[in-house]
Amino acid sequence: MATQTPVPAVLDQTTSTACRPMWLEVLHDWVTTVDHKKIGLMYIGYALLFLVVAGFEALLIRIQLAIPNNTFVSPQVFNRLFTMHGSTMIFFVAMPVLFGFGNYLIPLMIGARDMAFPRLNAFSFWVSAFGGLLLYFSYFGGSGLYGAGSAPDVGWWAYAPLTAKAFSPGHSTDYWTLAILLSGVGTIGTALNIVTTVICMRCPGMKLSRMPLLVWIYLVMSLMAFVTISPLTAAQIMLMLDRYLGSHLFDTQAGGSAVLWMHFFWIFGHPEVYILILPAFAFANEIIPVFSRKAIFGYPAMVAATVGIGFVSLSVWAHHMFTVGMGAGANTFFVFSSMTIAVPTGIKIFNWLATIWGGKIRFTTSMMFAIGFLFQFLIAGLTGIMLAVAPFDWQLGNSYFVVAHFHYVIVGGILFMLFSAFYYWYPKMTGRMLSEKLGKWHFWLFLIGFHLTFDIMHIPGILGMPRRIYTYEADRGWMIWNLLVSSGAMIQTVGVLLFVYNLVRSYFKGAVAGADPWDGWTLEWSTTSPPPSYNFAVIPSVGSRRPLWDLKHPEDPDNNYE
């Protein structure tokens, strides 16, 4: 039976009377902080900044492709745009924003006062942030500081031998390599921190079988990072050896293999997709039950499916390479392993549906984004299964169908769930509610824009439009589709701008949230919003998966059923 210790809402009365700190003090405070919440917020803010930058690059790409024979940007600039858009979105938007949420939420959810290694946490953030700045500094320093400089233009997967010194002179590719290397170091640091925090910092009673599913998923995702991000780091070291010291690891003229780079890149690249989508699953596991007013359906199956995805995802990478000519044996293996991963993912989808089934659903903006995620992720998974069939992939590999597929995963799946997470946890992070009215506008605009862009984008792919194409002839019949895709991008932009406006406006004018605005069940809702720097005045101890349910319903605690 749960007992309770009431804690005053405002523990520290001095701040209200203390004078406003100088901006320099505030800056110093943020730069030197080792508090997991501040680092988490910095991760999120930094990712949002790059989201706007990389989104702007996407807009330029879409303007260029909207009509045939367009010369809105030059071919060279176009190559730089898609390289920077891809690299930024994966390494400096998706990874930091997911780690930001993880950093913020994990210690709160397991009842700890900070991460296991707070200084390592700060180091990881600043290294990643420096990597992002280095990537964009290439615009000035890409040619070695004389002239205007240039950004990398080798594509986000940087296939050999295009990255060799002979084909990519100047320093733009070096900036790319170093930026990705630094981002990898930061990622390993944070992943190490998350695993150690989850294993060693749980509050009394928080057994592994009682952890919130979000924490479970971040644990699996961080373990995957060790065996996924590290190979990329190794490949970047090799690329640097090739470029700086003249080794021949990817030099085809000296007998080196370009295919080896492809393997090394995709050994990172495909599990990376699951590293990115798993946190989206994590948010769904927390948000869908709360707004369905039901405990999550099939907790052990969810954990098992997560671990299953973690394992299987390590053996699917070469489905990116069906067109290379690996031979029938390898192709067959990767077709079947790619299909196998649909099984644990399907288990998750059914569990979410079963959680919603018969629930008392509250259609908040957060829940609407979560439902959008469910449907769109399913469709994205289905086109994924289509592309996993090797003969189908021979037909449509490297076409806009592929671009549409993975944007469906990343935007329709990950970004929708991220927006959901923002609406759900923003009150905890700032103490203010996001405006629901603006939120609904954001949701519908973004939903319409998303479907206009990415549903239609499949069609030019089927008609034969290759990805990364600079422009196309008018008689191809691709124009109407590209025009629709580009106009959808504009609608999405309006939606995102509304969201950013909502974030800023609600920070000052939003309704005061209180500690527990959603009637939630996990530990982060048991402390004030925003939480004090020590998180919990007394370390909590828990007796079930939903400690706050036990507290609110002492007559019917959860551990009767677990």
Binding site: A2, T3, Q4, T5, P6, V7, P8, A9, A116, F117, I188, A191, L192, V195, T196, I199, C200, R202, P204, G205, A225, F226, V227, T228, S230, P231, T233, A234, A235, I237, M238, L241, L245, G246, S247, H248, L249, A254, G255, G256, L260, I267, G514, A515, D516, P517, W518, S526, T527, T528, V538, P540, S541, V542, G543, P547, L548, D550, L551, K552
Partner: protein
């Protein structure tokens, strides 16, 4: 929807969790092992694919003595931890010094080997694929040895100044885990470069 913060408290139970240092080091070792795996894969993949000489059979000799030194340093660092655990602090310094010495001998013999390869056999990282993979794999391992030696030397200096007590056993143990990893990787590198690759 309660507005005030209420922190749940249940009846206390026995609650013991693993140490942070050891779990953190285990994670680091996992990540480092993945980096080495990629370099080993590249080495194995390129065995016999060099377009020109020199080949491994021409120039490589088995570094038996260096290997014995490095592997026995695993034993000495273990003894350093266990003597510290038993509060024999001078013995701990002795074993740490032995570890640093054995590690330095290994590093020195690698340096000699490289000197020989570069100046007598004309094999540099630019020469052929064998040179590229050999120097990158062995160099990656050697750089890990250097990092380990720096940290062990630091521990030795602290120990000689009397600043290391039984309270620090766990920290020294974390460092020894790293050193065991570096030694274990050498077994793999040795087998791949000097046995399989020759």
């Amino acid at each position: 929807m309660s507005q005030a913060a209420v922190i749940p408290q249940n009846a206390p139970e026995v609650w013991k969790l693993p140490s942070r240092g050891i779990v953190g080091m285990a994670c680091l070792i996992l990540a480092e092992a993945a980096i080495f795996l990629i370099f080993v894969v590249a080495y194995v993949y390129y065995i016999g694919k060099s377009l020109s000489g020199p080949t491994p059979r021409d120039v490589l000799t088995l570094p038996i003595f260096a290997t014995i030194c490095l592997l026995s340093s695993s034993l000495t660092v273990h003894l350093a931890v266990s003597t510290l655990h038993g509060d024999k602090r001078r013995l701990c310094s002795l074993w740490l010094a032995a570890t640093v010495l054995l590690g330095s001998i290994f590093l020195g013999s690698t340096a000699l080997e490289w000197y020989h390869l570069i100046y007598h056999d004309g094999l540099s990282i630019r020469t052929n694929l064998f040179g590229s993979t050999y120097y990158s794999l062995v160099g990656l391992h050697a750089s890990h040895v250097i990092v380990g030696l720096l940290m062990l030397t630091l521990a030795l200096i602290f120990s000689l100044r009397g600043a290391v007590t039984t309270r620090h056993t766990e920290r020294l143990q974390v460092l020894s885990l790293y050193w065991h990893f570096v030694d274990g990787i050498w077994v793999v590198v040795f087998l791949v470069v000097y046995v399989l690759g020759r």
